[in-house]
Each structure stands twice: as C-alpha cells, then as structure tokens.
C-alpha cells in the first residue's frame, strides 16, 4: 500500500514543463512509478510520445538518470545498463543499490520491441519493464498497433466506408509476458494510482524481471477532453475491458473488483475513436466487443481460480 502523504514528500522525478499534451497519462504513469521506488532509479525509454516530449535538447524533464536508445530496444538497452551495474558492483567500482525501470509505449512493446522484451525477461535481468499502453502509435500520428482495441479508428485502421476501423482484437500482452514465468507480472491503470504504485513496489522488490502493463489514455488519439483522463482510465476497469490483476510467481489474482460493472459500450461512447461504431449498421461490432470482454473476463476468473 502506498501512502500518499509520504509520496508527496519525495523529490519530483519528472519535472513539469515537458511537451506532453494536456491530459496525457504517460507522464503521470512515470511519476507514479518512480515515486514508488525507495532506491535511486535509472530509467530507459523507447522512442515514442513519452521520450520525445520529455527530452528535447537542451532541456530534460528527467531528474533521474535517463537513457533513450531506439524504438524497439528499450528492454535490451536497460538489460545492458543493469548488466553494467552488476559488473561494476562486482569489481568494486560502484557501491549503490539502484532500481532499473524500462518504459515503452504499446508500439515499442507489443509490436516492434516484443522480441527485445521477451529476451530481457527470459534472461532474468533485475529490471521492471513498464508498458504505458495508449493503444496506438501516438507519436507518429495515431497509427494502429496490436494493442489498438477492436473497432477503433486510427490513421492506419481508418473507419472507412467499407471497413469500420480496426478489425482485430487487442493482443493480450500481459498474458504473453506471464507465460515467460517471470516472478512478477501485473496489469494496472493510471486511474488507480494506489493499485499501480503498490504493484510497482512489489515489482521493484522482486529479485528478477518484472513487467507491468499500465493503461495510459491518450486524449488526442482516443478523443476525449483532457480533464477526463483519469475517469476514462477508471471506467476501462469498471467495464472490464482492462481488468486489474497481478501474477506473482504464477499465481493469478484480481487486485481490484469494480463495485458497479458498467458496459464497455459506455466507455467507448466517451471516445471519438469509436464514434463510427455507434452508427446504424455497426451493431455487430458492439455485440462482438461485449462478447469478447465477457469471454476474457471469464478466462481471467478461471486463471484466478474464481470461476
């Protein structure tokens, strides 16, 4: 459990003044994650909105050591940093305790960086990889990724006259990483800061690799007013399109049960990327979404031994 009073006393790891859009969840994800560490943190990031908005030379928003390498190699890059740390410690040229966190967007994680992430998880580096999942390649102008939800309008899965947005369901990356049998894997939402920070604390306390997939609404790509970021992030959990759970050493557990379960369609209605699916003729899309959400929820319950 995180204590908000204690957290507010900590040094700000990411300063204001960066260039992320008003209402962007990504910097909030970073601040929550870094505040969870009780040791100094060294951070890496993939190319993407987070990196380009926080490191515009000669400025930087990072008050902790930060490294960006390329788009698809955040995990390999931080593998290297973490290995150097172990090497230098072994040789007595470095004596501090440090946590390592690698960030990547959904594009840099689900898609182009999946191999690099899989390799790093398999090798067992003591690092936490956080995917801030905003469901598209936002930095390059809202192109679809394998994390883009079914039906969403993006610039490469446009809602056209014949094809109504993305025709595939989202890849279940959290499960893929859980299948690596790493000691700690979790799914979180930026709207539930306490749940997320607690997960980061658990991940950082893990002696080995850990992975958190955190839902990170993008007001530009999703189409909602900037003040609604946290609400959208919470409603994704309430409608079970993004359940909060963790897998500790292979044991699955739902970490948050919404008091009132809402419909994923209500969540979708709040975002302009889904506007077209509510047009007459697209009822089957809505039905498919509801069925898929229910199916995945039942699967999760089974995994958690609650079915």
């Amino acid at each position: 459990m995180a204590n908000i009073k204690e957290l507010t006393k900590k040094n700000e790891p990411l300063s204001g003044g960066h260039r992320a859009c008003a209402g962007c969840a990504a910097p909030v994800v970073v601040r929550q994650a870094l505040l969870a560490s009780d040791k100094p943190v060294v951070v890496g990031s993939a190319t993407g909105c987070l990196e380009v908005t926080t490191t515009i030379f000669p400025y930087t928003a990072w008050n902790v050591p930060f490294i960006h390498n390329a788009f698809e190699n955040s995990a390999a890059n931080v593998s290297g940093v973490e290995t150097a740390y172990r090497a230098l410690k072994k040789r007595g040229s470095f004596d501090k305790e440090v946590n390592f966190i690698a960030f990547g967007g959904d594009g840099g994680t689900y898609d182009i960086g999946l191999q690099s992430l899989s390799g790093a998880m398999e090798r067992g580096h003591r690092m936490l990889y956080i995917c801030y999942d905003n469901g598209a390649y936002m930095n390059t102008g809202i192109q679809r990724s394998s994390a883009t939800p079914f039906g969403a309008n993006t610039t490469t899965s446009p809602a056209g006259k014949k094809i109504p947005g993305k025709t595939q369901f989202k890849k279940d990356l959290t499960k893929i990483i859980a299948a690596h049998n790493v000691p700690y894997v979790a799914q979180a939402s930026v709207g539930y800061w306490n749940d997320f920070i607690t997960k980061v604390q658990k991940a950082l306390a893990t002696d080995g690799p850990s992975f958190i997939n955190v839902l990170s609404p993008c007001r530009l790509g999703w189409g909602f007013p900037p003040e609604e970021t946290m609400e959208i992030a919470r409603q994704a959990v309430a409608c079970r399109i993004w359940p909060l759970y963790e897998v500790i050493n292979g044991t699955w557990k739902i970490t948050f049960q919404p008091k009132e379960v809402t419909s994923p369609l209500d969540w979708m209605k709040k975002q302009t990327r889904f506007r077209h699916v509510f047009q007459p003729g697209n009822e089957s899309i809505l039905q498919k979404v509801e069925e898929q959400v229910e199916k995945e929820w039942q699967e999760l319950l089974r995994q958690c031994g609650q079915a």
Partner: protein
C-alpha cells in the same frame, strides 16, 4: 623487457584471447558464422572464471548492440563480436553507438551479405557500415587481429575520439586459419589498456544525466558535427597508440603499409588478407623486372586520404582491389575513396577498380599478377580501358 609467447592461433582464437586479456566489464553477443567462435570461446572463459566479465547471451544482434550501448553508457568497458547479417541487423544501433559517443569495441569477421546467403569472406558487411561513425581497422592475419583488438580499446576510449571501434578479420581466411602469433602477457595487456574512465556515466545517480535526447533542427547538426570532430581527432590518436604499441611490443602500426612502393610504377591497393597474396605477386614481378608495389590499408575509418595520396603520388597506374561492390556502376567503396584522395595531386596516377572475391571466391597470386600486367599496359598506353572490372567471376 616484455614477455612474449609464441602460440598457434586462428583469427577467432586470437581475438577471443585479446578479449580475455582485456577482461571487459560487459560482453553482449549473438552467434553468427564465422564470428561465432569468438563469443563461444569467450563465454567459455566466463564459465571457467578466467575473466570476470558479465556476459549477456542476447536474443539477436540488434539487442547485442543495444545492450552494449546501455552498458557502455552506464560506464562499463564493453565488447562484442559479429559478422555479415549480424552487423546488418545492428546497423540502426551502430549509428546510435557512435552518435552517443560510446567507445564499444567490436570484433567483426568480414563476410558476404545475403542474398544469396553465403558464409564466406568479403567486405560487404563492413563496407555497408563504413559511414556509421565507427573506426574500422582491417587485419591481414591473426597477429594483426590480436594487436588491433588491443589497440582498439585505447583508440575508442581516448577522450579526444570517444568513438566505437571495430577490428576486422577476413571470414575463414583469417578467422579459421591457424598461424603462429606472438602473444603479450596478460599483465602487459592490462597495463596497456589501463582502466576505463567514462566521462559521464549514466549510473552516477548523484549527478543524473539524460542520454539519447531528442534534437530538433537547432542542435542536431552541431551534435553530428562533433562526431566528425571525434573522427578528425582519431588519426593522431591512432598513430600515437600504434607507435606506443610498437615501442612496447615490437610491432608498429600505422594507417597503411607500403610494400616496395618507393620506386613502383604500378601498384595495387587492398585491405585485409589479400595483402599477403599480393605481396607474393609483387615479389614475383620484381624478380621479372616489373616495378610493382603494394599498398595495404589498415585503417579505413578514418580514411587516411592524405597519406595515401602522398604514398601513391609517383605511381603511374594503380589498381584498387575491392572485396565488395558498390552496385553503383562506378566501382567499389575503396576505389572511390582512393581515387578521390588522388584528385588533388599535381599529376594524377591512372586508377582502375577490380571487384574480387565476393562470397569467398579465392584470389590467387596469378590473378593478381594479371592485374599488374594490365597496369603495366595502362601505364605504357596511358589508357585505362574499363574503369571497373570483375576479377575471377564467370561472365
């Protein structure tokens, strides 16, 4: 007096041996023929505790170089090795390594690139990455491969340079060819390479830095210019280290090596193992009264243009042997650079290009003698005929 030991080593063994003696902090690597042995032998050293390097068995060459970048930025001395498709897969991050001024050392075994897939020697892989901001050292044999690896560490890490460096050998010809080489003692190697002192290590949590930042139009050019300055500083450093190495261990290294060029009328310029073959051809021709000479280029990046022009200025006709093809209809990379280097000479030699040895096609003394024969004709007639020719190919 330094301790010297004679030993039989293939190029791969010699490079792995140098890596053992250097004992870097981190090695991240991925296997590929013909470089596999280097990392295989080295991981054996790690397993047997002969080095205390942290070895990262990554899942691809892209990740190998990415991890090297992370480790080097963190403040570690870092090495890796690869070849061909591996170097090509690294291409994106090779540029990032030099752009971030990280003194990573790479043992590169020159091999053809696909398609068609082929595991044998040519220089296409290394030449494809010649503008990646890496220092490139070519080796004629195992001894040079060994010596180049040791010097590479010092060159790369020199604060005036601070650029990644690849020491290359020729696939199979050197990498798997056994030779008697002279080894330096572990102690002496350690003394020569010294301890790495990174200027701005990422791991310094008390003085956080941001590495790999985004530059807009207002800074990118300046940062790229600084890389060029590092490369411009490299010749002095390479020369100094080559001399220091010679003073200590008896084998001196410069940018090029001239063989019987003083009075040469016709000359061949080449890189790597072919120099050995060419030397025999020169001797044969000399015994027949032909004034033949040879220029071996050791350092391709930075390109020693002035030195080459100065050495070749009195030669009448030159053939460049390119072990990669530029596919530009205008010859290979070595030809283009040498020819350009000669442009400012008051009287320019005639220059032709021979693309040879692709995919491990052997080059024989007789082939090279034929090239010299053509050069003699060119020098007499003053006409070059075909600017670019293919040597040893079935047409």
């Amino acid at each position: 007096m330094v301790t010297k030991e004679k030993a039989a080593r293939t190029g791969n063994e010699a490079m792995a041996e140098a890596m053992r003696q250097i004992n870097p902090d981190v090695v991240a690597a991925y296997p590929i023929t013909p470089a596999t042995e280097i990392v295989q032998i080295f991981s054996g050293y790690v397993a047997d505790g002969l080095v205390d390097t942290e070895y990262v068995a990554v899942e691809s060459e892209h990740s190998a170089m990415s991890a090297c970048i992370g480790a080097s930025a963190a403040g570690a001395r870092v090495m890796t090795g690869t070849s061909s498709q591996g170097l090509m897969l690294m291409a994106e991050v090779l540029y990032i390594a030099s752009g971030m001024r990280l003194p990573i050392v790479l043992a590169e075994v020159n091999r053809a690139i696909s398609a068609p897939i082929n595991i044998h020697c040519d220089h296409s892989d290394t030449m494809a990455n010649r503008d990646a901001g890496w220092i490139q050292l070519f080796s004629e044999n195992s001894q040079e491969a060994y010596d180049n690896m040791i010097q590479a560490v010092r060159i790369a890490e020199h604060p005036d340079v601070s650029l990644p460096t690849m020491a290359t050998t020729d696939g199979f010809i050197i990498s798997h060819g056994m030779e008697a080489i002279e080894l330096i003692s572990d102690d002496e190697v350690q003394k020569f390479v010294g301890k790495y002192q990174p200027a701005h290590p990422l791991l310094n949590v008390d003085k956080p830095i941001t590495a790999g930042a985004l530059d807009f139009t207002d800074y990118y050019f300046e940062h790229r210019r600084q890389i060029a300055v590092g490369m411009a500083n490299a010749p002095k450093v390479i020369a100094r280290i080559g001399k220091e190495f010679g003073d200590k261990f008896g084998r001196y290294y410069g940018f090029t090596e001239s063989y019987k060029l003083d009075d040469a009328e016709v000359a061949i310029a080449c890189l790597g193992s072919t120099a050995g073959t060419a030397r025999v051809a020169v001797d044969n021709l000399r015994s027949r009264g032909v004034k033949a000479g040879l220029l071996k280029i050791r350092v391709f990046r930075p390109f020693p243009a002035e030195e080459i022009a100065n050495i070749l200025k009195n030669v009448k006709a030159i053939a460049v042997l390119d072990r990669s093809d530029g596919l530009s209809n205008f010859g290979g990379p070595v030809f283009n650079e040498i020819r350009s280097a000669l442009y400012d000479l008051p009287s320019r030699p005639l220059v032709v290009d021979y693309i040879y040895g692709l995919g491990g096609r052997d080059i024989f003394v007789a082939d090279i003698e034929k090239v010299y024969q053509t050069l003699s004709d060119i020098s007499k007639s003053g006409k070059i005929g075909d600017l670019v020719q293919y040597l040893g190919v079935r047409e």
